[in-house]
Amino acid sequence: MKPRYVFLAVISGLAVASFLAPVVSPSPLGILQNWGLMSIVLVALTIVAFFFEFETKATGSKEIALIGILGTVSAVVRIPFAAIPSVQPCTYLIICSGYVFGPLAGFMVGAITALVSNFFLGQGPWTIYQMFAWGLSGVSASYLRRLNPGRRGLIFFGVVWGYLFGIVMNLWFWAAFVYPLTPRTFLVSLLNSLWFDTAHAVANAIFLGLWGNKTISILERFRKRFQWQTSGPEKRAAALP
């Protein structure tokens, strides 16, 4: 059985079980209602599932080198921008990567950005949520491409991800530290980071609006070069007549 189905089954099983747990409460299953714990487990499983998918789909050194280096670039560009609080170009680079190189590459670039930059900025429970949020922004960007979004679409997409990122990051904070867990308290938690998320959204909009198309064309130009050969050995090198 393919790993992806295993993961899909486990993740959905756990999610369903945690919904059903209250029905049989009180019982040892009550622990499944511990949202702080459950969300970490589910998010971590999702990331690992993507890793397994990458293992089977990535064909070789080109993808690995490209994704590794793009992850480093997007982690490193946090530095020149450190002087401008909460303006970070990572999200825009991850979105452009996903847009050009597809969902899996998008996820990996996003996840690696978080994991690797946190080796230098500090690991914490937030790492996996960042991996998850940035990863999904990369994945979604590759689907965005099918809609032919244009510049406005890209800007809108960046704004949406600025806030979505905040929502994902708050999810853990809310689930683990706030009582009671109601939609109302979730919204209040979001207010906590509203300023940062807005800055993030605005920055994404600026980056994607001003350089989105340029960056995408740089990556496209590279992709053309990079995928000179995409098929089996026979088609690799066309013999001259």
Binding site: P26, P28, G30, I31, L37, F51, F54, G60, S61, K62, I64, A65, L66, G68, I69, L70, G71, T72, V73, V76, V77, I79, P80, F81, A83, I84, V87, P89, L93, M108, I112, L115, V116, F119, F120, L121, G122, Q123, G124, A176, F177, V178, Y179, P180, R184, T185, V188, S189, L191, I206, F207, L210, W211, K214, T215, I218, L219, F222, R225, F226
Partner: protein, 308 residues
Amino acid sequence: MRSFRYQDRNTPVHRLNPFPKLGWIISILILALVLDSPLFLLLLFLATLPLVRASRVGAEWRAFMKLALYLSGAIILINALVSSHGTHVLVELPGHLPLLGAPVITLEAILYGVAMSLRLLAIISAFALLTLTVNPDDMMLAMIKMKLPYKSVLVTSLSTRFMPTLLDDVDRITDVQRARGLEMDKGKLRQRIKSRASIVTALLTNSLDRAVQVAEAMESRAFGTGRKRTFYRDISFSPSDTAALAVSLLPGALGIFMGTHGYGQYQYYPSLSWINLTPGEWWLLGLMVLLLVALLPLAHLKQRVDLD
């Protein structure tokens, strides 16, 4: 920024195999999220301190804690504002706010916030220890050992490997642009962002060239031949490592036990009461602390752990 990364010190904690450390952190994460009682959470946090002390990363650890305290403030504030379940009203804010309604701040909500801060402090203290004492490189080895897919690990380690290189690139490119008259800190936000974009573009294009060369070099050394890959280095597991791993996971198991059986809980709302532990809970509390601290003597016991 320097202080938030791995600190190379030669202490028993640093030399400890990364797996017991990972197990220990997972245990703390489980315990922190399962336990409710302020007493349990306080002791959980305190139980992380002996290892922090033994690893001689106090200054860096405090930097993490500063960040944690800032987040703690947010936790206390939000809980105080959103929860109106308590009975001991301290402040009644006038007016009617959207989302919050007419906020009342209760003693119960404040205490809940404080307890949750302790939960956060315990978690961040543990992760600080992980960041500061586990070499990223050993983390990669651990990831391979955990049978995480190799290509994902390779991508990650490749990316880590290129961090210093690309940081140098950024410095150099920044110098080039500044020497050409680019003023990065002049003008409005938009202008400042704009002036940095030339650096991002140059870095990106440079790095893509690097990627091709890296791929060529990997290809030239038989990467992706389809043969089954072997691994030269591995994290060795001596019996003492296995013992340490087992001990490090025990508190987590204890946490799950307590979670499923309702120990270590405390009723904050509607009204505070004294913390009354049953004798069983006292035992559990003692056992938890003991198991968490047990990693330290194990680390001392173990002679130099050779990761080869």
